[in-house]
Structure formats: C-alpha cells, structure tokens
Amino acid sequence: MTTSVSPPDTVPKERTAGHRMPFWVNQRLGLLVLVIALSVLFGVVRPAFLDQRLVLFPLLRDVATLTVVALAQMAALSVGHMNLAVGRMAAFGAMFAGIGYDKLHLPMQAGLLLCLAAGAAIGAVTGWLIARTGVSSFVVTLATDFALLGLVSLMYSALTEDAAFTTRPAGVDALRSYSLADICAGPVCGSPAVPQLAQFTVLAMLGLGFLYGGTRVGRELLLTGANPAAAELSGIPTGRRVLLAHTLSGLLAALAGFMAAAGTGTFRASIGDDFMLPSFLGAVLGGTLLTGGVVSVLGTLLGTALVGVIRKGLDLLGVGLESLNIYLGCILLLALSADRIRTVVSYRKVVRST
C-alpha cells in the first residue's frame, strides 16, 4: 500500500494536537472525590467511621464482593447485553464449591476452580444461546435465572440437610477474617482495614482492566457493544464476542458467589439473592453504558464504594429503617447532581478556553 496523497496543509496544527478534554473532566475522578468527601464527612461526624477493624474492614470486604458482582454485570454490558442471572450464577458457582468441599473433600483452591468453571460454563451456555438465536439477552438471562433458581434449590434440597454446605476447607476462614495486618514483611504489617478477600477483586480488576484496556479481544468486545452491525462488517466475530462476554460474566458472578459464601460462612442457596440491583448500580454509576461499548473497571469499584460508604455512614449514624432508605436515595441523587454540575462547569470551561 504505497500511496501518495500529500498531507493537506490547511489543517492547523493546534487543531489536531493534544487531547480533547483535560483529565479533570473525568467522571471517575468525580466519583473518587465523592467517595473521599463522604468518607471524610462521616469520619468527622462519627470518628468511629475510621475504625479500621470494625468499620473499614467489613466495609471493604463488602465492597470487594459487590465490585466483583458489578464487574460481572459490566462484562455483559460491554457488549450491550444484560445479565439478569448474575445472582443465580453466583449461587450456582458457589454450589459447586460447596459440593467440592462437602462431598469431594477438595482443598480450597480446587473448589474455587470448580466454582469458577461452573460459573463460566453456565455463562457460556447463556451466551451461546443469545448469540445463536439473536433473542434479547434480557429474555434469555431471565429464563436462565428461573432455570437456575429451580435447579439450585433442588440440588440443595437433595444434597443437604439444612439447605447449605457447611464444610469449610482450610483457608476459607482465613480468607474471611484475615486482613493485610496478617501479612507482614519483617516488622512491617499491612493495614488491618484491607481484607485478604480483596485479592480476588484486585485480580479481577487487573484482568478486566488488561482485557478492555490493552487487548484486541477487549476492544472487539466494546465495538461489538457499540454497534453490532458495524462490528460484524468490520470483521469482528460478534457471535464469539457475545459468547465470551457472557462467559466472563458467569465466571465473575461465580467468583462473587464464592467470595460471598466465604465472607458469611457457608455455601447456601440464597447466595446472590440480592446481587442484581447492586450489580447494575455499581457498573452504571461507574460510567459503564447500559447501551454497550463503554466500560470502566475502576469506575465500577468507585461506584460500588460510593453506595457502600453512604450505607455504612448511615448505619453509624444509627439511622433506623424508617429513614435509612430515604436518606440513601436522597444522598445518592444529591451527590450525583453535584458531580453533574461539576461536569457541566468543567465542560463550559473547556469550551471557553477553545
């Protein structure tokens, strides 16, 4: 391809140079500021908020789990789909871990692998159906949700006495209650606020960050979400990308199921019951588009953290159930409106400086 088109010299240099928007117009930054501001506010009003062991540790453990849930949703959203079965896929995965520990007496790592494999498999089946039939992901994952809801209950009823697998192999308890304070390099130990369970979240975030930010497949996932017709015509195997997105979603959901089970104690059917709304909330707050094509791994963490911090702060203030949800909704709206104003103002600034 040797062609000779003279570069047009009428394009002024300053027009093509440089970035479009300065860094501070970034939505993620707004979220980070919100999270920090609210933490400081709660910390001032209730100094106990900064109690590392009793407040920050459980808060972070919760955020760690829900972030993985939201990442699972994000994977589906990246191709413009939804996964309404996140919670049930989590239960499905956790069930396999439970079976692994209870019936097969596997060590912790092997059970975790089994759990992830089960999640990925069910995600793949869902994705395959969607890609093959072209039916809306909403309908298919809703049906998967029902199927799993039934299957998981049946399996627990058949295999267990109390509808839960109570065997816990060595290491699970450590995962639940150990923090970085239990990891020492000589005399220096980590912070007791950071749970070891968060290692999975960090791994998942790094993996997805690399996938979506650095690789061909990640880019193709996003373009599939942005415009499936154009993606297909650009030579992207959209069907396979849809399959992959749902497989990832299932895998992450199963990981979240494992984390939730390790965090509370046993592998039971009700794991993931309340995953659906937080999964969307975290991802969408973080800047992932419901219509596909745009994801944010870090934003997902921040979005989840924002909700976690507000809730924790209200708990610490001793707000009762009569007011808790009202405050929660209002603070969320106010915080986001404030951030919205920031975005508009900064946008205006950029326009003015042009």
Partner: protein
Amino acid sequence: MSAVLLECHDLVKVFPGVRALDGVGLRLTAGSVHALLGENGAGKSTLIKVLTGVHSPDGGTLTWCGEPVRLRSPLEAARTGIGVVHQERNLIPGFSVAENITLQKPPARRGLVDHAAMTEPAVACLTELGVDLDPARPVRELSVAQQQLVEIAKALHTESRVLLLDEPTASLSPEETDRLFGVVRRLAGRGACVVFVSHKLEEVFALCDTVTVLRDGRSVLASAPLAGHSHDDIVSLMVGRAHTAAGMRPRTVDRSAKPVLELDGVATAGGHRDISLAVRPGEIVGLYGLVGAGRSELVKAVLGLDRVTAGEVRVHGSPARIRSPRQALHEFGIGYVTENRKEEGVFLEQPIVRNITVTVWRRLARALGFVPAGEERAVAQDLVDRLGIRITGLGQHAGELSGGNQQKVSLAKWLAADTRLLVIDEPTVGVDVRTKRAFHELIWDLAHDGLPILLISSDLAEMVTLADRIVVMTGHRVRGEVDNDRDYDRMSGRIIRLIHDRDEVRS
C-alpha cells in the same frame, strides 16, 4: 433587489477543542438558490444547525426579515419558516414513510392523529420528487437513497420560506438529482430561498445563483453572486491556495490474468438473478445503477450477509462459500467499505483511533492479545494524515466529526486492513472536492499496485474517472457491461441507454 429573508453576522460556535464557526456572515434573499461551500469540516453543517435552532450560537446575531431573532429549538426555527434537510438521515425507523414526512405537523383532529389524511400530502411530496414509494412502508426497510428522498420530501412538506439542504444529493443518482433541481427551482420561483450544500461543483454551478464559501469556520466569500466565479476560483477559495489537479499515473490491466473474484450466474435470496462478473488484479470494476438497483445487496450477499441461492462465487479461481464478512476478511482478504456509514460504517460513540484500527488489531497483537497503544495510534495517525482527516485528537469520538470526515474514517479502516480485494460502496459520498480527488488518486494507486477493486457508485463522473469496465445493473439484474474510454458524454449515453432499454422491454 428582492427581500432579505435571513441574515447572520459574526456567528461563533465553539465545541471543546474546535471553533467550528468563527465569525460567519450570510445573507439569504428571497427567490435565490444559495450555495454554501467549503471543505469537510469547514463548518457548513454547524452553520445550518445554528440557523435551525439545533445548536445555540456562542456569539453573533441573527435576523429574520430585518428583525433580530433567537432560535432556541428546531421547532421555533420551523415556526419561523426555516425548513431543513440535515446531512445525516434523521428518520424514525419504526414509523411509516407518510408519518415521517408529516412528523413535524401531523394531520390531527382534537389530538387524534388522522393516519388516512397523512397519505395524501406525503404522496404529493413524493411525487413532486418523482419517487414511487409505498407511503405505508416503515422507513427502516428503505435503502439509504430512498431514506434520503423521504428526508427531502419531509422538508418539502413544511413549506418553508428558507429551505436549507445539507448535501441532499450525496447518495442520489443523476435522475433523482435532476428532479430535485426541478423542485428547487420551482420553490425559488415561488419566492423561497434554498440553501444548497454540495461537494459536487457541477451541480452547484448548474443550480445556484449566489454563494458563500467557508474555510475553517470563517466565511472567505460571503453571499456573492456565483456567476462571477469560475470552478477553480471556488476550489481555491475553499482550499485556501491555488488548486491544481494532478494527472494520474497511466495504468494498464492485464485482461488475461486470472480473476480474483468471479461471480458466475449468481442468484440470491434478495432477488438477484443470473449475475456474472469478474474482477482481475489491478482492475477497477465499476458497478453502476440507479437507486435501489440492488448493487449493495449483491455485494452483501457475496459477503455472506444474505443467501446465494444459485451460481458460483469464485475467489482466486476456486469456489468459495463466504459465510460472514469476517471470513471474507480473514480467509479471502476481501474488504467491504459500506455505503451506510452511520449505521454500518463507523462506531459513532467510539474514539477515532479504534474506528480506524479495528481491522488491524489482529496484526498488531502481541502475546496474550496485547495491542500496544503506541503502535495503534501510529497506524491511526498515519491514516489520519494521509487522508487529511480533520480531528482534534485521536481520542475524539467519530460521531463528533463532520460528515465527510466520518466517511474518511470509514474508508481509513479498510486502507489499514491490507486486503487482497476491496469492495467500495459509494466511497466519496459527502467528501469535498480536494479530498475526493485524493480518494480517487488513492483508489487509482491501489489498483496500480495490483489490488483488484469493485467500485459501487451512483456518481457517474466518478465511475468514468476511475473504472476500467462498468457493469450496469437495474432491477437486480446485470443489463450489460461497457468498457470505459474515459469520455464522460459517450459513456453516460451508453450507460443510460442500457438502463432504459430495460424499461422499454418492461413496458
């Protein structure tokens, strides 16, 4: 001197990182046809959007019949008497043709829509344009060109005193264009002012009386009579320097070479019958036909998007079953530049760098599929420079580009792909004169270097400039083939005859 309808001074419109309008003046008088010219990204569409209340200006004044006005919304502009056809098609996909045409002012009684009363004005507008379309058909089923015509009919329906047409002819064939010109002249005769944006200067000179030329958001020629200017003057004004058309390197095609792509008696589920054609290395084969002739559909069927029901497709001599564009690209090296850039060509909400490099990630990828961002940007930047795409940064979203620049982006992706056969569908729709020239040189040089090219275009001049052979299609059938001798008049005569022979046969 007839009345001044709409006038603007010193209009300024700023987007982050770009001053799209930077002090534009314009005066529109009743009864005239006004040309608005400029290169891609000069600010024509932005000006039209400011004049119709889509964008609010950041500076400048606007007067309507001598009175200052502020147009805060498209509705206000329409009420004032300004009608518009935007550059991008903007129809409601699920609504019928008739309903789309009457969308602005649906016939209604007491809040109830009268579906029956829609048909008549819609049909009237369509017939004025000489289009025969079922008014009850949903527009999502129409081809690009048909949608464009509906869009124009919609503007006619509003009966405005100022009608702004932003590249209405971009995807029309000469027939439709002529009929549109008739309509425009009639409107001007009735005392309206029509603003006409086009990159086809022949059309501009055939139609317009006055002209405004924009360059980098400034008017370099404001509301002057067109008669005093020559073709080259105008181009020089647009480009900002003397414009010289360089000749193209002579190119010969080895007719004895084995065809890279061969269709032999192909029929498709879409209704094509008995299509045969061949493209050889280094050859540009044109596929010409009127709107709706089925050219785009044929190519899509060959690429596996529709079913080939009979006949044989051969690539490099061996029969090929292509099931998807992906397979076409990766197994057979066939690239397809689609005509429908907004829906199928570019990813509007994605950065330009991704839009361009989507076809080359496979090549750039390292271990674990890692694509180095630097290399990716280098590939994109190279093409941006080569095609002169006007952007504020590689991270800018493609949707924020001017129409012509979007077209360049959608072509750039296939130039990056290094294909062994390129199918190009309407490559220069909405591309400015200079860049069109550059495109032509580019395509020419690609062929010169041995790449076989199948070119679909409704622009006959383009066909005559580029193609070695022109295959003429109407009604999903090949009507004949002419060898191009690069003489426009002779060629157009022969082609038109081929097309009309079939009409006679049918009637």
